[in-house]
């Protein structure tokens, strides 16, 4: 629908330029065609994530005749020819290799390999993903990649209440200077999920590259033609460098700094400031993890600010005090500083230089009592109780450590005693039954999976601070076990595929051999039949003597009526010719006489 006005405008502009049509170079029809199909940009919400991740699900063409499940496709059979490997290995990073490095960040780097979507049709042109074609052909990969797009697209809504807001990697604050070569030339932030173009070797964030390729299938830097599904790969060295960057946790209030690859774990599991769903099942808002814990219930109710009387949400009260509370500041009674009111307590307790405080060595005998600024100076050099104070403090610390160790020993004793008792009980109950169950079983019989070839880590040795820790450790252990099992299954699958391939190959060969033999036999038969027919023909020619040929002889006989032959012979001839209407060569009679001829 845009074709009309655009083209008209184009030609009118041309006439503005005062050029006649013969100045138009030969490629003008192509240009007009471009006008007729302008690239669709606005209003097109393409799921960029589908592009990104379905890429790795492309199995290299035809490994194995029946399409195996997508996940199996990520592991090449052991004897895939070498030339097949670069494509496969590069586009499809085999989880078996990557899981060791990226196990912590795998939710973000390679989220959940087992549910990798079915391969996208690689030949589908980007323009085909317009509204109409999307409506008519439901794309299975889109729906299956939904959780992933949720992990990257902040606007995606999430039906599962346990899911968190995704980390926005373009907003991260990096603690160390980031090398310019690690920045995406499109978004100008350190790469997130970097993809390198194969023909020209330029690297971009996956999402940025997808956005750019939607408009034009060219490399944004040097305009090399690119196919979004084939011409990109991951570069391990870039990933490694990015993983090592030190970043600050994106949650407001959290000062945690870690390597970037560890950030997802901190964010998802440990950070107290991560916004989680409100504990109230009827509430759709989010609240910091620390506030969601305990039984404070839903914090998204309104309350009246004690200073300015405004209606404020309980969860946002602190923020309100700090920022927009009308009566939020007050003068400190001691030092005249302007302080946010609800911080006043902290101010007098820690910062105010005029508040009267005691020397920190007071418990060891110092009697200094003065404004904080004086006491601070006193503590730094003058206080004579410093030496003894430090000694006493060290001693107290030692004492604390000793106490803790004592507690731990007693806890272990207790545990040992319990386990001994259970052991005894079990052996008394009749060992025959449970002889096969390993000794770790009584502690967590339902969680122990002792099928692994590795020795199961014993629980007896470890002490757990809390049930949560224990469960967390269990969870991690099971996760790694799952990972192992997954690898083993994949290996097994590869073996099976191989074996199947080998067996069928042999069978196929045999079948082909049999087929060729049958063919040879057929040829022999036809040859033999031909020889027989020929010899018969010669024989017949010999017996009929003067007649020119059998066919003509018969025809002549019919047209000539009775001829010299008698009525009996005529009957016999009719009999044979009627039995011979299918065209078989004439046979001898069973008594060995020649068939009657004219």
């Amino acid at each position: 629908m845009l074709a009309g006005p655009r083209c008209r405008n184009f030609t009118s502009l041309y006439s503005y330029l005062g050029l006649s049509l013969r100045h138009i170079p030969p490629d003008i029809p192509a240009l007009v065609a471009q006008c007729a199909t302008p690239p669709v940009i606005n209003g097109r919400v393409l799921p960029t994530t589908v592009h990104t991740y379905s890429r790795r699900a492309h199995p290299p063409q035809a490994w194995f005749p029946p399409p195996s499940p997508p996940h199996n496709a990520t592991m090449p059979p052991p004897n895939t020819p070498e030339e097949g490997v670069p494509t496969a290995g590069a586009v499809v990073p085999a989880p078996a290799n990557t899981s060791a490095t990226y196990i912590l960040g795998r939710h973000h780097l390679y989220p959940e390999p087992p549910v990798s979507p079915p391969p996208r049709v690689p030949t589908a042109p980007p323009a085909a993903t317009t509204e109409s074609s999307r409506a008519t052909t439901p794309n299975p990969s889109r729906s299956s990649s939904r959780p992933r797009s949720a992990s990257r697209d902040s606007s995606a809504s999430c039906s599962n209440r346990s899911c968190l807001l995704p980390i926005n990697y373009q907003d991260l604050h990096y603690e160390t200077e980031v090398d310019k070569s690690l920045e995406c030339p499109i978004c100008r932030t350190p790469f997130h999920l970097p993809l390198t173009t194969k023909p020209c070797g330029h690297t971009f964030c996956a999402s940025c590259l997808d956005r750019a390729l939607e408009i034009q299938p060219l490399c944004p830097i040097d305009r090399t033609p690119l196919d979004a599904s084939r011409d990109v790969c991951h570069t391990r060295i870039v990933l490694d460098q990015l993983d090592r960057l030190r970043v600050r946790c994106p949650n407001r209030g959290c000062d945690y700094i870690c390597a970037r690859e560890l950030l997802p774990v901190h964010y998802e599991r440990y950070c107290e400031y991560t916004m989680v769903h409100c504990p109230d099942p009827d509430c759709d808002l989010r609240v910091a993890r620390a506030d969601a814990r305990g039984d404070r219930g839903c914090l998204h109710t309104f309350t009246t600010c004690q200073y300015c009387g405004k209606e404020v949400m309980v969860a946002g009260l602190e923020e309100h005090y700090d920022a927009d509370c009308g009566g939020h500041t007050a003068k400190c009674g001691h030092c005249n500083a302007i302080v946010v009111r609800h911080r006043m307590e902290k101010h007098t307790a820690k910062d105010c230089p005029r508040t009267m405080v005691a020397c920190k060595w007071r418990p060891f005998g110092c009697s200094e009592w003065a404004p904080r600024e004086v006491v601070e100076k006193h503590e730094q050099g003058l206080c004579v109780y410093q030496a003894i104070g430090r000694l006493a403090r060290d001693r107290m610390e030692d004492r604390m450590i000793i106490n803790e160790l004592k507690e731990r020993v007693s806890a272990m004793d207790e545990r040992l005693r319990k386990s001994e008792k259970k052991e005894k009980n079990r052996s008394r109950d009749g060992g025959g039954h449970f002889g096969g169950i390993p000794s770790a079983a009584p502690f967590m019989p339902d969680l122990d999976l002792n099928h692994s070839p590795r020795a199961a880590p014993s629980y007896n040795g470890g002490t757990w601070e809390s049930p949560e820790d224990y469960m967390l450790a269990q969870f991690e252990r099971i996760e790694s076990r799952m990972e192992d099992l997954r690898k083993m299954i994949m290996e097994l699958d590869g073996h099976h595929t191989m074996r199947l391939l080998n067996d069928t190959m042999r069978l196929n060969e045999q079948i082909a051999e049999l087929g060729s033999k049958v063919g040879v036999l057929g040829m022999h038969t036809t040859w033999l039949m031909n020889v027989q027919r020929q010899s018969r023909g010669q024989q017949r020619a010999g017996t009929t003597g003067g007649t020119p040929g059998p066919g003509i002889g018969v025809a002549g006989g019919v047209s000539g009526g009775g001829g010299s032959a008698g009525g009996r012979e005529e009957e016999a001839r009719r009999y044979f010719s009627s039995s011979n209407d299918v065209g078989l060569p004439l046979r001898r009679n069973s008594d060995g006489r020649n068939p009657p001829r004219l």
Binding site: R6, N9, F10, L13, Y14, S15, Y16, L17, G18, L19, P25, L31, Q34, C35, P38, P39, I41, N42, V45, L46, T48, D153, S155, Q170, D171, P185, I186, C187, R188, T189, C208, R211, A212, E214, I215, Q216, L218, P220, I221, R223
Partner: protein, 157 residues
Amino acid sequence: MPPAAGFATKRLGKELQKIHNSLPPGIDLVSAENFEEWFLDIRVLDSNPLYKDQTYRLKFKFSSSYPIEPPEVVFVKLPDRPIPIHPHIYSNGIICLDLLGQQGWSPVQNVESVCMSLQSMLTGNTKDERPPGDEDFVRANRLRPKDIDFFYHDNNV
């Protein structure tokens, strides 16, 4: 609204930070109060008599799809900021440069690189003329620059 409205803002924030730190000679930031419209001044540094001792004001307009889509760049006429004379710059400030069109644009370009391209486009020019049909175009054109389909024919710029 496009999928990532914040994308343009973030990228422009990064660019602005860089621009505040350093800019190539002959390019000055005039104002960038929001992430929709920026003004920059450019000067031609060599002694091209056509543009000597002149400063030109550029207006950048960014859509929310920037940098995937090109910004809209035009020269602005002010009492002390004329429109440079050039066979590809119309007297209403509209620039005919493939770099600023949908086909020639690349998301790795930025405000700075566009300014430098325009600088070099002026530097390399020797013709003291407007594009053919300038008066008609200026009188009749009601379209925004990005909606005009220019035909880029001159490879010498």
